[in-house]
């Protein structure tokens, strides 16, 4: 069980522009940590560094206080659920197939949800159960966003990363998603957002425009 992920004195340049200079962040169990900043401020780069998809030019990424190596990142990924900014990539075929496809991976097979569990999460996120038989590609942006959250929720991992989870959502759906995330317990939750509703549920915030 992971207790913390830490960025320590991280420096990173991106296309000859200084993105971070001595960035320190500590993501802890029980926190809902908001990464706030406009587009290009480095929110996705931080998410990529936490997951081992990108690396600091200098500085450290620590997992449970230990400098993270390749195996640690791989282990961390198996304990992560991720809602990407571009939700179009997550599915093909029917929505039900999109949801079930993540449970075909060996590490998730034991968590394969039954129909009742899927329906409960779908309803909690304000979706109609008929959406399960719709083609994923034909659903709206807001519906895709919530389907991605449905998958992350059903995966029930210890680390949950939401990359702009409110994009494409109306005010009512935003409120549903915000209430939903704020009820998650005993997890490391990271939200990359610039949305005021989601900012309010964060227990700690890193404002990247002030770094």
């Amino acid at each position: 069980m992971f207790k913390s992920i830490e960025l320590q004195q991280v420096y990173k340049n991106f296309t000859e522009r200084e993105l971070f200079a001595g960035l320190d962040i500590n993501f802890k169990v029980g926190d809902i940590h908001g990464l706030i900043g406009k587009s290009g401020s480095g929110k996705s780069t931080i998410v990529n560094m936490i997951c081992g998809f990108d690396f600091p030019d200098s500085g450290k990424v620590l997992i449970d206080g230990k400098i993270a190596e390749a195996q640690d990142f791989k282990m961390l990924r198996t304990c992560t659920a991720y809602v990407p900014q571009n939700v179009n990539i997550i599915g093909s075929g029917k929505v039900r197939e999109t949801i079930q496809s993540s449970f075909e991976f060996k590490t998730n097979k034991a968590k394969r949800p039954n129909n009742e569990q899927i329906l409960m999460v779908i309803k909690n996120l304000g979706l109609d159960e008929s959406i399960l038989e719709s083609e994923f590609k034909s659903t709206s942006g807001g519906e895709k966003q919530r389907i991605a959250i449905v998958i992350a929720t059903l995966l029930d991992k210890q680390i949950m990363i939401f990359d702009e989870p409110s994009s494409g959502l109306d005010d009512r759906s935003k409120a549903i998603v915000a209430a939903y995330i704020s009820n998650l317990r005993d997890k490391i939750i990271i939200i990359s957002t610039h949305d005021i509703v989601l900012k309010e549920i964060c227990t700690s915030i890193t404002d990247l425009e002030q770094k």
Binding site: C51, G52, I89, L155
Partner: protein, 263 residues
């Protein structure tokens, strides 16, 4: 052999039909004219050399020399597939070499133990034409399969990362790209295999019949050649893609973007 021989003049006149594709490629500015001329020039020179070689080699018939020739074919084929794959040679050559070599070894065993017999398999008149057919006819599917695989990974890399973050192992995350590669490489082969004998007659069989062989003998050879080429193509792609993981991904399971040739 009592077949009708072709004169050099007839061969030259018949080959002039190549002017049609060259004109079409030129007219539509495909950029393929130079490659076509080089490819067909190489093909003619290489086949003539093989003809000369085979005449000599049939006389000598040394297994060591025959195997060396097969090795040269494997290396040349690996270089060809590597160059056409849009990937840098230093990353992809070894997996492709291993893929083609595995194909040759396995199919060599099939011919040695089941078709030709172990006492004949290293003879020049069997080893070189059979391995030439198998290696040469594997190239197309291998190029399509490998290119499709890496191009799809590159264009859908966000999806691959998403799957890794949903708990997939690299092997599991790459599964859909394997599926795409096999479909792209083998759909046309399966379709054309289904109509052999109905719409077209394969070149080798036609050549054998024209040169005087019994049609049923030619057909039996053709059947086993088509089956082994098909299986060999799958073996080549399977081995290459399985090994390419080590070369194309780093210890963090991240794709090395430097594997792609700049376009």
């Amino acid at each position: 052999m009592n077949g009708y021989d072709i004169s050099w003049t007839s061969l030259f006149i018949g080959s002039l039909i190549l002017l049609v594709p060259i004109y079409v490629f030129y007219y539509f500015k495909t950029g393929l004219v130079k490659d076509t001329l080089i490819a067909f020039g190489r093909m003619i020179i290489q086949l003539m050399l093989v003809g000369l070689y085979l005449e000599v080699i049939f006389e000598i018939d040394s297994p060591l020399i025959n195997l060396t020739w097969v090795l040269v074919m494997i290396v040349a084929a690996s270089l060809t597939v590597s160059k056409r794959s849009d990937l840098k040679l230093k990353f992809i050559f070894v997996p492709i070499l291993a893929g083609i070599a595995t194909n040759v070894v396995i199919n060599g065993c099939v011919y040695g133990f089941a078709v030709i017999g172990t006492e004949h398999i290293f003879e020049a008149r069997y080893l070189i034409p059979i391995m030439g057919m198998i290696i040469g006819n594997t190239l197309n599917a291998a190029i399509i399969g490998i290119r499709t695989y890496f191009n799809q990974i590159n264009s859908e890399y966000e999806k691959l990362k998403y799957d890794l973050l949903c708990g997939a192992s690299l092997h599991e995350a790459l599964m859909k790209f394997n599926t795409g590669a096999y479909r792209e490489a083998f759909n046309p082969v399966i379709a054309s295999t289904a109509v052999i004998g109905l719409i077209w007659l394969p070149g080798m069989m036609t050549g054998q019949i024209l040169s005087g062989s019994n049609p049923m003998t030619a057909i039996k050879y053709q059947v086993i050649i088509i089956i082994t080429i098909f299986a060999g193509s799958v073996i080549t792609i399977f081995t290459t893609l399985a090994l390419s993981k080590k070369f194309a991904f780093d210890e963090y399971d991240n794709l090395k973007t430097e594997i792609f040739n700049k376009k």
